[in-house]
Amino acid sequence: MTAMSMVQAINSALDCTMGRDPNVLVMGQDVGYFGGVFRCTEGLYQKYGAHRALDTPIAEGGIVAAAIGMGVNGLRPVVEMQFADYIYPAIDQIISELARLRHRSGGEFWAPVVVRAPSGGGIRGGQTHSQSPEGIFTHVCGLKTVMPSNPYDAKGLLISAIEDDDPVIFFEPKRIYNGPFYGHNAGGGRARTWAEHPAGEVPEGHYSIPLGKANVLRQGTEVTVLSYGTMVHVAEAAIEHSGVDAELIDLRTLLPLDIETIVESVEKTGRCVVIHEATRTSGFGAELVAEVQEECFWHLKAPIERVTGWDTPYPHAFEWEYFPSHERISDALRRAAACD
């Protein structure tokens, strides 16, 4: 085991899979010689060569389209979108092509492409470097959608994603690339770097975490908290702040969703709060609320609440007012716990 940041863990996942399978390559803007603007592909160019750490033109649609063609022809391309906010020019290739190719060809063709995309706010990135578009992709049939919350999971999940024969959209919450984050002015004495955090202990070799399996991070009796990515850590701080004995579930994979783990928890607590950073309306939280309502209605003692980003573009000056704070989450937990 070695202490790794999430950037290093992702790099290690790419290195492990490229080392084992010559058909795996990474491709994207600045990923080759430079090693990526967030450094996730550092050293791969030197180790595996320019054709396996492939710099590309600035053409997201072209990158994904080329990856599909490569995937159809036996390779396993791992695409890096420089920011999740830049994924939209590729959306036709992802939604109409990558996601549906297997189905529309009656199982004849498929492309095992992973699209990695740094997402989320908290780095003063304004509206074009802060978005969380996961809900767009979970709405599309045929894509698996993943968002890890720590280095250990990031590596294990990315290896699974690369080895999976289905396309995977892999969101990397960039606010926690280098250390956990508990919300603005929150955290107290908690770990600030991954080296200080247990989930920063990462095996150097190959291992995998199955897609579709959630992780119960904290056992609790009063409220079930469903979250993923950066917000898992903010939720942890909020649970402590609220004094509510909440059970915290890190979904890790949004689709396929680990509904069994969720149902088991909500049937026990009778209450549920859903947290994500993305905008509220038609966000993935709406899907979670609907699932919990359908599966657990007779066990519920409180309305299921969502704590999310507001329905506005991500504002540069009001980052922390937009970001779901530990205070907002804590209020929701107390409101839920007060219902009986």
Binding site: D30, F34, D55, G62, G125, T128, F318, E321, Y322
Partner: protein, 419 residues
Amino acid sequence: MTNSVDGAAVSAYASKLHIPRASSRPGETSDFQSLAIPPAGSLRQPPLDVSPQDTADLAHGMVRVLDDEGRAVGAWAPELTPRQLRAGLRHMLHVRAYDERMFRMQRQGKLSFYMKCTGEEAVAVAQAMALEDGDMLFPTYRQQGLLFVRGRPLVDMMCHCISNAGDNLKGRQMPVFYSWKQGNFFSISGNLATQYSQAVGWAMASAYKGEDHIAAAWVGDGSTAEADVHNAMLFAATYRAPVLLNVVNNQWAISTPQSFASTGTTFAARGLGFNIPSLRVDGNDFLAVYAVTRWAAARARAGHGPTFVELFTYRVEGHSTSDNPAGYRSSDEAAAWPLGDPIERLKQHLVNLGEWSDEQHTALAAELQASVAGDWKRAIALGTLEDGPHWPVESMFEDVFKEIPEHLRRQQEKVRAKS
């Protein structure tokens, strides 16, 4: 292993992925010596109704006016008065002083981000001077010079960059993503090249309405890879829209060299395939940039449709405050760039004309630095990024729609109650 093509045996599977090279990587010597730079004044100026295919020599060559001695030579030498030339020089020096100040303020934590245009000042400044005020500008984040020529107060630009109460964008955008409707300067997007095809639409509307305003759009060498650039060129050519489509080839897209988008020829050459008259111009030559822009604008206004222009220049600094170019290119590149510095070249020309001196130049640079420092003080008096005052926080819910719908009104109330 052999294969057969038309009965002839050939050695099979010789295909390999071609990985384009950079002009240099760290530790290497830059290979600009291999660039074919035609002498100043060597290219003709065609008539405004030139057929696109008759511009092939201009698309593969390079329009240059200022020679190595700073003389304006050849058919493209524009008629500019010394007063206009001095105004151009002043704008470029002003942009550079502004960039240096803002970069420094970012390093001190006063801005979250910044992008300089060092070495490329002639592009935006000469082009804005060559266009009319009613022409609509669709820039990237590296044409701040347009704002200087159009007369935007620097205090306003700074207020935007620090998202304070004086920011006309109400704290919503990252620094340098300016918008200024009054100056016909379109809102800059963080997503690359989207404005390129929008500019064509704006120009189509101008033609549709029978107005003589044209649109001008810019995109970087790297961003020409985006599908929006193809869309722009196709629509512009199809409808003969009155638009000037510029590619600022500054050689680098963050760490990616222009060779990953140029396909081994000039960017200007791409216009020929769309049947658009196309030229490449020395982007560090103020006079050449001005002349080509005047020519293209006159073409558009005369009903001859779009012109595609590659401005050949060099990004002297990093892409932004977020990258260090020493990690991906040789540190000697800027010094080795064969087309010099646009400010120095225009200065040399003015000195040759007897219209400028070293003393005046030094005094002007100092005056502009002092004026930028004064503007900064006035800007931060209206609020800072970290401590404000900013716009009221509940203002983030405005302008999502023209009227705030009920669901947003409820969210706004929650924020107001907390603030």
